[in-house]
């Protein structure tokens, strides 16, 4: 397969921008749905309660209210949402019902749905629904909570290694509950055609095909009667798009009442209803030789998954279990991640799920060990980084659902050394732990791997049109990552035609036969490779068709730009083959592993605990750069999300299971003034061996090492206080408390006595 490489690798400006910059995008709430009713969901305000009764009669009497849907409408058969990933029989009891019937298990769980002539009128009627609840005891903490499943990642014999090691150190770590918080909240619009018995649902994202299958089954409809359509999507980050109660309730109501139904989530309910993330606490241990060679890593983690197992609730625990060792040579690993059920909003994937947490734990242990053993941070890592000739290198075995995966290829030293050079690591060592103009300075670095290109397959379909354009239909979903442009670049290079000739359609079940979607950093690898294959197939079809018209063999036809040229004959324009189309499926069962290193320079004000990130550098190898602009954008965006997770963001609950973040004034997202200096470089020294593009998934790498790097930089800055920043977020108050605790614990000089 020949790709011209004109556009691939370049800074191609995005096609999407032409409409998005003009405010001409069409997001789900922008969709006009004539004759529709508006749905608003009544949600539980109790963390755990038995529903005694629901009386909607007063609500139904309110102006404009047309119906109120409750569990009663489902006549005892309440569908439960299956797991899309890593389903396991032990998880079936924890599946979320599409609406609460006898019990509510978290604040925010859907109890009823009001349908009215406007969203405002529906909201007005909410407090007229009389719900009687009998409170039940609340499981507010993961510590002793019931277990859903436990994932174990093992390699070698960790306990024996710990028993024999020169140096063993343990510590506790905590990554707080976070939320992906895309700027667009969720929404859906459902239209039921009673005559054709067809359902069309707009507002799909991420995994439309899987959701179509789930919905069709729940509604007892053939898959061919259910269409899910993706419009413009305002961010996903692994959260938006998974099947949630409203994905059933809204279409169900459309069919039941024979009216189109539109639902737009508001931010207050998004904070309690959309999937949360992370919330992992662990005890971890490291065993080393005296020279810093790491022998073993062990961790026992609790993941607070909330009240139910949602479609991908297992992923972060599973990734934590399998990815703890990162890109390092660690012979013995024993990582156990136990998923516990509490009365909180269910959690699921959020960029780098489980890997962000794993890297935090591992890199912190590395710096703790390095300090104890008298080694500098850089030497400790180079002593343990896998060398190129050691790859492929298998990740630890996973149980109870095995998944064999190996680090494919790469030179982790190349990105590491480049990262060190970019931040000026050697020159800046003079600043480590030093007090300068009232602030302590610290630097740290860390290495990471990003698992991407998740299989099993992806579809693409290319269609020639009479106007000379080529439509590219792909099963991958767009969530803002520039999918249209990247797919168009790949197709354009496959045909050696200008990008303007291509129109990309994505993410809807009407686009291809068996799409999968965008998650696990797979769209470029899987969707892009499917486009490459479909392009080849289409070229073959064009040659065959041209040959039959010209009376020669297909191999005699030469394709030049948009013409098929027979030997000695008149060139035939592609436009003359209008409606010719080719579909292809790219199969892949091997993850790709992009990799790299990040480093940070921070300054800590010991009197307020405020940490300023003076410089943040990332170097990553992604195998093959398709669009240099969008790749850079993914890295910067991911890093800033990671920094938000380290310093600002937290979903907190009180002991009664009440959610304490009710607005964006409570859940603090990074803003333009918080992290002004972020620099990133991408390399493509080691193309992926498993796909025709040589690309490796690269949307999540940016976030994965951030917590480890920053907490180590803070520890380095405050080395004279011997603080261990092992609990996130590192809010100013937490950093200040670490210093106070250290002062009270030992004879540490107060900063006033330390002059520069």
């Amino acid at each position: 397969m020949i790709l011209s490489n004109r556009l691939i690798g370049s800074h191609t400006q995005r096609i999407e921008d032409l409409r998005l910059l003009r405010g001409r995008g069409c997001y789900i709430d922008d969709l006009k749905l004539p004759g529709c009713l508006y749905a608003v969901v009544l949600r539980s305000s109790f963390a755990h309660a038995r529903i005694v009764s629901i009386d909607a009669s007063e609500a139904l009497a309110r102006p404009g209210v047309r119906a109120v849907v409750t569990a009663a409408n489902l006549k005892g058969q309440i569908p439960r949402i299956p797991l899309r990933m890593h389903a396991h029989e032990s998880l079936t009891p924890f599946q979320q019902p599409v609406i609460a019937s006898d019990r509510v298990r978290f604040v925010g769980e859907p109890v009823a749905m009001v349908l009215a002539d406007s969203q405002a009128l529906a909201e007005d009627a909410l407090d007229a629904i009389a719900v009687e609840m009998e409170e039940l005891p609340v499981e507010a903490s993961a510590e002793q909570a019931p277990i859903a499943i436990a994932y174990a990642g093992t390699r070698g014999a960790a306990e024996q290694a710990f028993a024999k090691a020169d140096y063993v150190r343990s510590a506790s770590f905590s990554v707080q509950r976070q939320a992906a918080l895309p700027m667009e909240t969720r929404g859906l619009a459902a239209v039921w055609d009673a005559e054709k018995e067809n359902l069309t649902v707009y507002g799909a994202a991420k995994v439309a095909f899987a959701n179509r299958d789930i919905l069709a089954k729940m509604l007892d409809l053939p898959k061919t009667s259910v269409e899910l359509r993706e419009l413009d999507v305002g961010g996903g980050f692994g959260s938006r798009g998974e099947f949630l109660p409203e994905d059933f309730l809204v279409p169900f109501a459309a069919r039941l009442f024979g009216r189109p139904i539109k639902w737009t989530e508001d931010r207050r309910e998004h904070l309690m209803a959309a999937t949360h993330a992370r919330d992992l606490h662990c005890e971890a241990r490291i065993a080393c030789h005296a020279d810093g060679t790491v022998l073993a890593l062990a961790a026992t983690a609790d993941v607070d998954v909330g009240a139910y197992m949602r479609t991908n609730g297992s992923v972060s625990a599973r990734n934590f279990a399998q990815a703890l060792a990162g890109p390092y040579r660690i012979a013995h690993v024993n990582s156990l991640a136990t998923i516990r059920i509490t009365n909180k909003t269910p959690t699921g994937t959020y960029r780098g799920p489980g890997r962000y947490e794993a890297d935090f734990v591992r890199e912190r242990l590395f710096d703790i060990a390095a300090r104890d053993l008298g080694l500098d941070q850089s030497t400790f890592r180079t002593r343990n980084l896998l060398r190129p000739d050691e790859l492929p290198y298998a990740l630890p075995d996973l149980a109870p659902i095995p998944q064999v995966t190996e680090l494919d290829n790469g030179d982790y030293f190349e990105t590491f050394e480049r990262c060190k050079a970019d931040i000026g690591w050697d020159e800046k060592q003079l600043l480590q732990g030093r007090l300068h103009e009232g602030r302590y300075h610290g630097l740290a670095l860390g290495c990471f791997i990003e698992g991407g290109g998740v299989g099993p397959s992806e579809d693409a379909r290319l269609v020639l049109h009479a106007d000379g354009s080529i439509a590219v239909h792909v099963g991958s979903s767009a969530i803002g990552q520039g999918l249209e442009t990247v797919m168009a670049q790949i197709a354009a290079d496959a045909f050696d035609l200008p990008i303007e000739r291509f129109r990309v359609f994505h993410g809807s079940t009407t686009d291809v036969a068996n799409g999968q979607g965008s998650y696990g950093s797979r769209a470029t690898v899987m969707g892009g490779s499917a486009v490459v294959m479909a392009a080849e197939r289409l070229k073959e079809l064009i040659r065959t068709e041209a040959a039959s018209r010209a009376g020669c063999a297909p191999t005699d036809i030469v394709l030049i730009r948009d013409s098929a040229v027979p030997p000695g004959g008149t060139p035939l324009l592609f436009a003359e083959f209008a409606e010719l189309s080719a579909e292809a499926t790219f199969f892949n069962s091997r993850n790709t592993y992009s990799y790299g290193a990040q480093a940070a320079h921070v300054a800590v004000d010991p009197r307020t605990g405020q940490v300023d990130v003076l410089d943040y550098v990332s170097v990553e190898d992604v195998g093959r750069i398709i669009n240099a602009l969008t790749l850079h954008g993914q890295t910067i965006g991911a890093i800033v999300q990671g920094l938000g997770g380290v310093f600002l963001e937290q979903v907190s609950y009180d002991d009664a299971g009440q959610l304490q973040v009710g607005s964006l004034a409570d859940y603090l997202l990074p803003t333009a003034t918080d992290f002004p200096v972020i620099r990133s470089t991408a390399l493509e020294s080691y193309p992926a061996p498993n796909n025709p593009l040589g690309a490796k998934g690269a949307g999540e790498g940016g976030i994965i090492p951030v917590a480890g790097v920053i907490s180590n930089a803070v520890a380095a800055a405050l080395a004279s206080f011997a603080v261990e920043p092992n609990v996130l977020p590192l809010s100013p108050q937490r950093v200040w408390e670490l210093i106070q605790e250290s002062r009270h614990a030992g004879a540490v000089p107060s900063p006033k006595n330390q002059r520069e």
Partner: protein, 288 residues
Amino acid sequence: MKLPPFRYERPASLDEALSLLAGSAGDAKVIAGGQTLLPIMAFRLAAPSLLVDIGGIAELRGIRIMPDRLEIGATTRWCDILGDARLAAEHPLLQAGIGHVAHYQIRNRGTVGGSLAHADPAAEMPGIAAACDASIVIAGPDGKRTVPFDEFFLGALTTILSEQEIIAEIHLPRWTPQRRWAFLEFARRSGDFALAAVALHYLKDDSGRLADVHVGVMGVCDRPCRIDAAEAILNGNEPSAELVAAAAAAAAAAVDVDDDLHASQAYRKALIAVLVERAFEAAEARGG
């Protein structure tokens, strides 16, 4: 989060606004910038049946420099204060403090009166009012009355305003150019509510001793206030690191806000002490 239903009036005069309030049996709310009221209503924490929009009332606007005071109309917006070139000399502390209020877009709508009526103990305008001995002119059914700020602000989110009264203007004593001053705030992000803030100003006599010291704090008590104990330590003395540290400690001792979601009491005490010290450094650096 659609708003609950209400009637809306936009009176052209203060008298008309007052009679609308009087006639509504306590179920009306005044709206000016709406930057605080509308979010509250969007969360359905308040659902007044009538909104009286005072944004069009001419006599509530304007910044007037009088011989002995500044008069700021209640519907003066933050951008009006920041954009008024006279205030750089006439009240630099006010301008500096208002620069910390929220964000660019909020500053184009939010008003002085709105902030004072809402009475958030961490907000900048009430803090400046406390630190600068402001008076509030209140218009009600029986005419206007002027109240010292300390009597106006009763506690967190509580003022003496009745449901039938509207803030008409705020008075600040005239600034003197010899005053040294600083406004320092600590917030999680730019534009967030202060976890703690200090508005400081003072004079120095010919022998370099501090006089007429005003140490105003925000965010650390149930109301913004001057810390008498800190001022007592500073007044009449020459500044020194030890003196300022003692004043900072006095400010910390006055903190009485309980632990909350945003900060513990212990942390707020540490913050206010740092801010007092750093505010003093900044004020001294300003010279005079």
